[in-house]
Symmetry: C2
Subunit: 94 residues, 2 copies
């Protein structure tokens, strides 16, 4: 199991566009898109990466945006698994 990162470690390692929601013990990013179906497609692709990592975010799909929230439930906070998947999800929109 990965170690829980403290707030300073999270701040140092947080990928572009993500923020640390300390109250929820999560990292989050809202991805924005030019069309609704681009957002839907992103969520589908993100789901593939999540399944491969066996690390499943909460993804909220709305009109032209998808909010992704990551935490490591079995560790009780944000770990390197969350940072790693956040980086990979950013790769889908670069």
């Amino acid at each position: 199991m990965s170690d829980v990162l403290d707030a300073d470690e999270i701040a140092a390692e947080l990928p572009d566009g993500w923020h640390h929601d300390a109250e929820a013990d999560e990292i989050a990013r809202t991805f924005e898109f030019d069309s609704y179906l681009e957002g839907v497609g992103f969520a589908a692709g993100a789901g593939g990466l999540a399944e491969e990592a066996f690390h499943h975010p909460t993804m909220t799909v709305e009109w032209r945006e998808v909010e992704v929230r990551l935490t490591t439930h079995d560790a009780g906070g944000v770990t390197a698994k969350d940072i790693d998947l956040a980086e990979r999800l950013n790769g889908l929109v670069e």
Copy 2:
């Protein structure tokens, strides 16, 4: 624009598995799946129906479940558009 339905009308027309969240002025259903990627695939298919109807729900994708929430923002409540899309989304899992 569709007319806003009152609570009795919603109760009478609500498709199987959906409930009326009166506080949020929404109808909602949590769809459950045997695998994570089935849920992701459902969300992608639901996105196609939503785009065709140009009526976009809030879909929250988690591990093996997808919560869908529907309301008609420009009408300020639940309308026949929500009931119709809810029926069609049920058709994806029948």
